[in-house]
Subunit: 190 residues, 2 copies
């Protein structure tokens, strides 16, 4: 018999994963991160965000070969020209992506091979709030429903535990469900 | 002297804008929207969201000519291969895009021509939370700072009023600052 030590699972380098956890346990200052987004209005509902630099592990991270460019827009019924997903749809994507990544990392750490992870997110909104027509409705989604389909080489109970742990540790799930303090500064020019 | 009635301002069709507001006042059921995102895991920190269909004005909206595809990822230090912005960065983008669009629409409605709108968003996070290493830190950003630069043909006071109104009515600002109830269903297969 031979034993093979897996160094990667679900596309996650588990040696690096446990090494990162150990490094942070040894020096918690490595865990301080700052992420950034730079947005510029183009025209109407079209605006664009550039993302590249961030701070991590006590320095500016310079590992990204290029910046990411994201276009936002609105569909015709919301007075846009479909130059991109709208901001509320981007929030659903952020939530889906974070839950999925958390789930994949947790499974990798716990020795579970995943074969498929899919999700559908739905957010319900009455736009009388955001349009300023009624104070009976909030501006954002009243609720978000997330439906996951997860397949892997573990019993249902273990797969459900992994999803529950991902929900418990997802950065965006935390922010979307509990809220974040936001400060807003404005500089103007006529 | 001649007077010209503007039908578009800041790239926003103001005739359609006020027409939409009047239509919803006449029939508030038109204001019910549902937005959706469909995510699929690819490998490691790489997952992809498809966005197209949504519900609005008492029907499925079929106006979008094509779907939007968004790739998420993580940088090397967070065990990914930079296949896209990470989920927390997407959340910053969603917030920037929504505040900017709200600001542009409010300015259009109030007769203000904007010439430039830029913003920088910064989110601070200690990843000991999301990595499950410490319960002293939350999973998401502790705080988000938004710095806007707004130029237009109005006095500073009016530009600041427009930003304040946008903050008050932005769907994503509402969700990110106050939180949204999220339900999560899971179907599994071994």
């Amino acid at each position: 018999m031979s034993t093979t030590v897996e160094t990667s699972r679900n596309g996650v380098d588990t040696v690096q994963l446990f090494g990162t956890l150990d490094a942070i346990k040894g020096d918690p200052s490595l865990a301080r991160f700052q992420f950034r987004a730079r947005n510029r209005w183009i025209d109407g509902a079209h605006n664009q965000t550039r993302i590249r630099d961030f701070y991590a592990a006590n320095q500016e991270d310079a590992s990204r070969a290029q910046e990411f460019v994201l276009d936002a827009g609105e569909p015709a019924i919301l007075l846009g020209k479909d130059t991109g997903p709208n901001p509320a749809e981007y929030l659903l994507h952020a939530l889906a992506a974070c839950l999925t990544t958390s789930l994949v990392y947790v499974a990798a750490a716990r020795g579970v091979h995943l074969t498929e992870v899919e999700s559908l997110l739905e957010g319900d909104m009455d736009v009388q709030g955001a349009l300023g027509l009624s104070d009976e409705y909030r501006n954002g989604f009243e609720r978000i429903r997330v439906s996951f389909r997860v397949e892997g080489d573990a019993p249902e109970e273990k797969l459900r535990e992994i999803v529950a742990r991902a929900e418990q540790r997802s950065a965006v799930f935390d922010m979307v469900t509990s809220g974040v303090p936001v400060t807003l500064d404005v500089a103007t020019a006529g």
